[in-house]
């Protein structure tokens, strides 16, 4: 695998990890914008715009975009998070020129009014769909409470009200502000040629408006809160809890990933042995989410309603024990093996490498080969874990429960 990077005259960055031994190519345009970058009155615009991107530009209609991706058998999709909007495709090497033309075209959409009005209905349906998924509702509510007053608390989908009121003029203004070349990274992995790729990108993106968008990345300082959302007809109680963890650029990031694996992986972790293996909880996991400037320890719990308070207290006791005594060398070693194995297996497919390569570049402006990723994992010691726990102890600062319980006491 060979790494290349370049910057176009207008500021668009290209990073590529090329590998002639694989069969496909994966490419993603990442725009450094998401719900945290929305101003008042435009809640949900980033995600809505991601949908509108597929409605065509001055060269292609919506039908063209869908048809062309299908004609070449590409797997393509897009997603919007709190801080990144990305458009990706996986395809066979011979289709590079077609993909570059259509994929790059998504970032300069025509935003036609009739398409806008119709797609608004789809967005409202998507909001309705997520309302029927209790775990999503809990997650969204927890993000909002945890980051209250901080841009990371702004929800991705928006609400029925904010989407209904949003105008295409607001979307155009948002697009002009955020979809500038300096705010975009193109990441490519797999079997293609660097020189050809650069030519293609220059041809299709060289004319994009330069510009860069800054965001305030002050670390959030959440205030403790708990909320209970009652759904009488539900059978399970789901709980999402959050606490501060290292930001994406922190030196403690890998230690955090490993600690989350030791304490709260879906199998073989402390939470697993204590709560899932015993059948008390359906889900009891700890995850680490990294953001620009902030980070989150996220606890997921799904259990019988009557057990909720008791299990949340058990998790608190378990976290306190970890904060006090750390983890063992054997636990850390198994977690390293687990994470290393995921890195290696994922690396066999270009799509698997794409997220590592692009996340690393977007958040840290660095490239790590598979070997370097493995080396850094091996280098994490118990001392790093200790330092991590001192700076970011495991806690349950924000709690949101959803389910049949009308009220719950989380201590």
């Amino acid at each position: 695998m060979k790494f290349h990077e370049a910057v176009l005259g207008n500021g668009l960055q290209i990073v590529a990890e090329l590998n002639p031994a694989v069969y496909s190519v994966a490419a993603s345009f990442l725009v450094r914008t998401g719900s945290r970058d929305e101003t008042e009155g435009e809640s949900g615009v980033s995600h809505f715009l991601e949908h509108m991107a597929f409605k065509g530009n001055d060269r292609f209609t919506a039908d063209d975009v869908n048809r062309i991706f299908d004609e070449i058998g590409a797997e393509n999709n897009a997603s919007t998070s709190e801080e990144v909007t990305q458009y990706h495709a996986v395809f066979l090497p011979e289709y590079l020129p077609t993909v570059m033309e259509v994929l790059s075209g998504l970032l300069t959409p025509a935003l036609r009014q009739e398409d806008y009005d119709l797609e608004k209905q789809v967005i409202l349906e998507e909001i309705g769909m997520y309302q029927d998924q209790p775990s999503w509702v809990a997650y969204e509510h927890a993000m909002e409470s945890h980051f209250k007053g901080h841009p990371l608390g702004q929800c991705i989908l928006g609400t029925t009200e904010s989407i209904t009121e949003l105008t295409s003029e607001q979307m155009r203004a948002y697009h002009a502000r955020h979809y500038t070349a300096g705010n975009v990274v193109l990441a490519v992995t797999g079997n293609t040629d660097w020189d050809v790729l650069q030519e293609q990108v220059e041809q299709f993106c060289g004319g994009w408006k330069p510009g860069h968008c800054d965001r305030i990345v002050t670390e959030a300082s959440p205030v403790a809160s708990a909320a209970v959302l009652e759904r009488e007809s539900s059978l399970q109680e789901q709980v999402v809890q959050m606490a501060p963890a290292p930001p994406a650029r922190s030196e403690l990031r890998l230690a955090a990933e490993l600690l989350a694996t030791v304490v709260g992986d879906s199998s073989g972790s402390r939470l697993y042995w204590d709560l899932v293996d015993s059948g008390e909880a359906e889900v009891a996991e700890l995850g680490y989410n990294e953001y620009d400037g902030s980070g989150v320890w996220m606890t997921w719990l799904s259990c019988l309603p009557k057990d909720t308070e008791r299990i949340a207290a058990r998790i608190a006791a378990l976290y306190a024990e970890v904060n006090r005594s750390g983890v063992t060398e054997a636990e850390l070693d198994r977690a390293r093996n687990k994470v290393a194995s995921r890195v290696v297996l994922r690396s066999e497919r270009p799509m698997g490498r794409l997220s590592s390569v692009s996340t690393s570049w977007m958040y840290r402006g660095e490239y790590l080969s598979v070997e370097e990723e493995l080396r850094q994992l091996q280098a994490v010691t118990l001392k790093d874990i200790q330092q991590l726990l001192e700076a970011y102890p495991l806690r349950q600062v924000t709690t949101v429960a959803i389910g049949p319980c009308g009220s719950l006491n989380f201590g």
Partner: protein
Amino acid sequence: MQLQEIQTHTLANGLTLIVEPMRAVQSAAFSLLLPAGSNYDPPDRLGSASVLCELIMRGAGERNSRDLTEALEQLGVQHREHTGNSFLTFSAASVAETLPESLRIFGDIVRRPHLPEDQFEAARAGIVQSLRSVEDEPRQKVMIELRRRCFDAPWGLPSDGTLETVAQLTPDLCRHHFESCVRPNGSILAVAGNVDPAEVIRLTEDVFGDWPVLADPVPATAPRGPHRDHLSHDSEQTHIGVAWDSVPYSHEAYYDAWAAVGVLSGGMSSRLFTEVREKRGLCYSVYASHTSIPDEGRVLAYAGTTSARAQETLDVMLAEIVRLQEGISQAELDRSRARARSALVMQQESTMRRASAMAGEWHHLGRVTTLDEIRSRIDALTVDSVLQHIRQFPPRDFTVLTIGPQPLEVSVEVP
């Protein structure tokens, strides 16, 4: 495409091994399918396979539950256990060097599990909680309940059982499920990755060669549920499931059937996505997919939409499905084929996908088709052959199930 060198080897006790060496990768993956799935649950004790599948990982051979999990973690084995209608499936992937040790551990798991009685309640509680979660997620529930209404039992039954039947299970029943169903005859082990087939054959003989044959159990059959049904739920959306008959995977016209479903739901330019979502904005999610049991096939379709627009969504879906018989275009067929071709090429990048695809082929066909062979079947499709198939097996007699605040009318029907 690279020339594939797939080898098969059937042990004297009836376990079939399929191996595909893949030189460009570092990993090896396997899928081990045991013919002991939920089809063999006693009809009033559904869920015995599923609880067994939870219990079987809790200690085997020389290792207790924790030692076993930790041994797999130490080897860097990513694994997943799954209860299906036909099979209990064990899938695992790791770097190729650890395949022998990983396979030996799984040999213990399926042949020498402890099935500890004192952990039965914990294993059952896990299944009960996941069944309760499905009740809270109508999007999942509608497809599980749709299968029940379009396949006869045991094929349509939910593989985790139901809250009522799982409550009736005992440790003895799960042990009985193990003793009467888990066997080498009819089991399939598919291995793909950076391996030497001769070594894998030796290893498999060593791990499974002396596993004694058991008589094949016979599943109990029963009629399917109602053709038209509505389940009331105070959800935001109405969740719509539609099913109709198709041919099974083993049928000579399978690829025609697959192409017809591709025209309906093969990509973002397919008819359901275009007509229901893109032109009318009726929903976020709409799809149809082909599913197969050994002698029967179905197409299962889904849409989820706000209740006020649910009737229109169902009407448009059914109209599009019925309209297939009026014709398809060369361009539509070409797009389906392009998607299939690229998916086939990309399958070669994933040891896990190859292992599971080969095991599935053996189950349905009793042989493994090479990717080249599948590609030539896809190349041979024509608009006429697909259309002829659609007219021979027209979508009709729809099973329709809705979950949501209000029932819907099935207003479109063909003779």
